[in-house]
């Protein structure tokens, strides 16, 4: 997994020089497919038991040890109010560098690396009052699939989270 990722990162750097071409790491939750900009992906790990953090929103699964760093893990399914993920060793944690923090996303599986140019990205339908929709930075239709691109910074920005939980 890591080798694969390292290779893709090199490609990503090369592609980034052309500012219209971008790469996205796509992953699935149930039947939905999501994507994040590959430049913020640090690594991909299999699910391992993590330590629960008390009195935190329910999509915050807890913290794990990543080579000495304490990383919070978020359940993306729970974040979108689709219920808690029954995590098994087949589930995957994607470690992202968001701002100056490192966070982990618990997802069902990583599917692909998607090449797209800025022209391929369609804006998300605007819904001002829906905080969940504000986390969506765009949509890409790829073959017969639709990939929802996520803005990780907004996804777990504590202000957005508060309003999201309040709404929930």
């Amino acid at each position: 997994m890591t080798d694969n990722f390292d290779k893709s990162r090199e490609d990503g750097t090369a592609a980034a020089q052309d500012d219209t071409a971008r790469q996205f790491l796509t992953f699935t939750i149930g039947t939905e497919e999501f994507g994040v900009d590959i430049m913020i992906v640090r690594e991909i790990k299999g699910w391992a038991e993590i330590t629960r953090l008390p009195n935190t929103p329910d999509f915050m699964r807890g913290v794990m040890n990543l080579r000495g760093l304490i990383i919070p893990i978020f359940d993306l399914r729970m974040r979108f109010h689709l219920g808690a993920t029954e995590a098994t060793s087949k589930h995957v944690i994607i470690i992202l560098a968001v701002g100056d923090r490192n966070i982990g996303l618990l997802v069902d599986a990583v599917s692909d690396i998607l090449d797209a140019s800025n022209n391929d990205i369609k804006p998300a339908p605007s819904q001002e009052d829906n905080t969940d929709m504000q986390c969506v930075s765009g949509l890409i239709s790829h073959q017969d699939r639709m990939v929802v691109l996520l803005d990780a910074l907004k996804l777990f920005n504590s202000k957005h989270i508060e309003s999201a939980t309040a709404a929930a």
């Binding site: 629960r52 008390p54 935190t56 915050m60 913290v63 000495g68 304490i70």
Partner: protein
């Protein structure tokens, strides 16, 4: 390295030099005009001036120039190092500090900053002798013409430092009538000649009216790169009385040269971030080692002898490495202790008291983070001793004590902790007064009977002050409780013992480092938490029925007559499948910020030193949790914040019940 980086280095150096100057000036006050000290102080001022010119900080240059002139007059013996002069020098150190502050913030200080001090500096310079103008050169001009035999032998690598001997010689020649002879005996054959090296040395016969220090000043910047001998030939009597004969002064100067070079070579300046990274990595190594060991335990030992031996060696090296890395962060407490004499001096003269501060154990080392946070509480305690502890000379004499009071500040390593003691020979704590005040303020009940030591420690309660009048110094009620809180936030303890009429002894005990914590691992349901050992009083299993539910309040436990509120960790943290009956579980009695409480846990797992990791680096802070650590099996375990738990408990007692 950009100019800006050089400037930052210069500013850091300035602060060090200023601190050094201040410290030396303090000792100068006691034993009159020690030539070595004066020279050292002069060098500090000179270095600050030198650098300030390079960065165009003209306000520092101008001020230090006058400062330097006064110091020069002192070391030439033209001016007595009187108390008044030293006081002025001390205030000028403050002024320069503020100028450096301004330089650091890239602002220009107010134009009149230090103007007053500057005037008094100048008045000292031109004071007793009308002939002594601020310019050092002018001071020397009063003396007659002398002849010096100067030997100047630069080291071979002189050019590497960008120095040009020709310019120096030209400068010397300008001082008077010079007869310069070059010594070419060391010049090799042409084929062996390395043109980047200096092979020449010079002897100079100089007839001049200038002083020897003027000549030395020419060579100031090559001092460390050459052999320099200056001998005075004609023994004309010096114009002004000099404390030390010139020969010993020369020896001192020469001694300085040999002394300084090795000091520069044995220490390097390292960015703190780099050290922290090192500390972190070693912390990881310790965890990895523990993981390896746990894995290897299950293997049949006879088949893996080499592996076992390897792991044993690894653990030993890791431990040594950890100690060595921790030692890098360790610093002597001197850096805080050295600030205290000034405080005592200023304060005692302000209060009309005569107080001597004795320090010992300045070289005791403790982690840098502890040092940084110890400064304020310690300053406060010293001020407290000076203000409340020591009496005025009249009172002391009447009580049959020496007029001069003594405050003794000491540091010592005891059992893996650092113990700092502040002992004064003053009044001691007036227990009757303390008790009355405490009752007045309702801090204790009117009929409470307290032991002497309990009574003494009342002074650490919030809002407590026995000072009858609020002074500039203390008595505003922000006092020892803040000290106690600060010390406790460093996982330390503070206590006081007193002998009425004879004095008090404050004892602070602190861990050597904040990176490592002594913790008790406890289990609640399936979760493991760590309680800092320093906050644990005892652990007990109450009999059934001993925990009572107080209507409208929480559960309380009667421990030897004291009612202690019970906090169910499983409720405040919503942990499933934990024991809810305290008589079947355990109650860990803990204390924080003066409040005692009992935490209900399922099991004590064991005591362990853990490396503290920040949770906040990546996650939002969680109430009741102060940090995290990684246990031997690689899992994250959370460290409980006792104070935060208490607040959490008060916020949601009933919410917890429902869950």
């Amino acid at each position: 390295m950009s100019l800006e980086q050089f400037k930052q280095t210069y500013i850091t150096e300035c602060y060090e030099l200023l601190a050094d100057m201040e410290q030396r000036l303090m000792t100068l006050d006691c034993d009159k005009a020690d030539m070595d000290q004066l020279n050292a102080i002069f060098r500090c001022a000179h270095s600050i001036k030198g650098g300030s010119g390079a960065f165009g900080l003209s306000y520092i240059t101008d001020f230090t120039h006058v400062l330097e002139a006064l110091l020069d007059a002192m070391r030439e013996g033209k001016l007595q190092a009187s108390r008044a002069a030293v006081d002025t020098l001390l205030t000028s150190v403050d002024v320069v500090t503020r100028m450096v502050d301004a330089a650091k913030a890239n602002t220009t200080p107010p134009a009149d900053l230090g103007a007053e001090v500057l005037e008094s500096l100048k008045s000292f310079c031109s004071g007793p002798q009308t002939s002594t103008a601020p310019e050092p050169k002018a001071i020397a001009a009063a003396s007659g013409e002398r002849t010096y035999d100067i030997t100047f032998a630069p080291h071979a690598d002189l050019f590497m430092t960008g120095n040009e001997p020709l310019l120096l010689l030209r400068e010397v020649a300008r001082l008077g009538k010079a007869d310069i002879t070059a010594c070419t005996s060391a010049v090799p054959e042409l084929k062996d000649l390395d043109p980047s090296q200096c092979h020449l040395s010079w002897t100079i016969m100089l007839q001049t009216t200038r002083s020897e220090s003027d000549i030395r000043e020419v060579f100031e910047f090559v001092e460390d790169n050459c052999k320099l001998i200056i001998k005075e030939i004609s023994e004309l009597p010096p114009a002004a009385p000099v404390d030390v004969p010139p020969t010993s002064k020369q020896a001192a100067a020469a001694g300085d040269q040999t002394e300084r070079a090795p000091v520069q070579a044995t220490s390097i300046r390292v960015d703190l971030d780099k050290v922290d990274r090192l500390v972190n990595m070693v912390g990881e190594l310790v965890i990895t080692e523990a993981m390896l060991r746990a894995q290897a335990r299950d293997l049949p030992a006879e088949k893996h002898l080499g592996l076992m031996r390897g792991i044993d060696e690894l653990s030993q090296h890791t431990r040594e490495l950890q100690e060595a890395v921790m030692a890098v962060r360790m610093q002597p407490v001197k850096s805080i202790f050295s600030r205290m004499p000034r405080i005592v001096r200023d304060l005692s003269s302000q209060l009309g008291k005569d107080i001597r501060l004795e320090t010992s154990g300045e070289n005791t080392e403790v982690d840098k983070t502890v040092i940084e946070q110890l400064g304020d509480p310690l300053t406060h305690m010293i001020r407290n001793s000076v203000d409340h502890g020591i009496e005025t000379p009249e009172v002391r004499v009447a009580a049959g004590k020496p007029a001069q009071g003594t405050v003794h500040l000491s540091a010592d390593h005891r059992g893996g902790r650092i113990v700092i003691e502040i002992r004064d020979d003053g009044l001691g704590i007036n227990r009757t007064k303390v008790l009355t005040k405490a009752r007045e303020k309702g801090l204790i009940s009117a009929d409470a009977v307290l032991s002497d030591s309990e009574c003494d420690n009342l002074i650490f309660l919030p809002g407590f002050s026995t000072a009858d009048k609020v002074s500039n110094v203390s008595g505003r009620g922000v006092g020892m409780d803040v000290v106690k809180r600060n010390i406790e936030s460093l996982e330390g303890t503070v206590k006081v013992t007193t002998q009425p009429g004879k004095g008090s002894l404050f004892t602070i005990s602190l861990p050597l480092t904040l990176a490592i914590l002594d913790g008790m691992i406890v289990r609640v349901g399936a979760e493991h938490y760590i309680i800092p050992i320093t906050s644990i009083i005892e652990t007990l299993r109450p009999k059934s029925g001993e925990v009572r539910h107080v209507e409208g309040h929480n559960d309380v436990l009667n421990v030897r007559g004291e009612f202690i509120s019970i906090i169910y960790l499983q409720r405040v943290f919503s942990i499933p499948q934990a024991e809810s009956d305290p008589s079947k579980a355990l109650v860990v009695l803990v204390e924080s910020a003066g409040k005692k409480m009992g935490l209900v846990v399922d099991e004590l797992i064991g005591q362990q030193q853990v490396v503290i990791k920040s949770l906040e680096a990546n996650a939002d802070p969680v109430k009741g949790i102060s940090g995290a650590t990684i246990l031997g099996d690689g899992r994250v375990s959370l460290i409980l914040d006792i104070n935060g738990l208490h607040q959490l408990h008060q916020e949601k007692p009933r919410l917890g019940m429902v869950a």
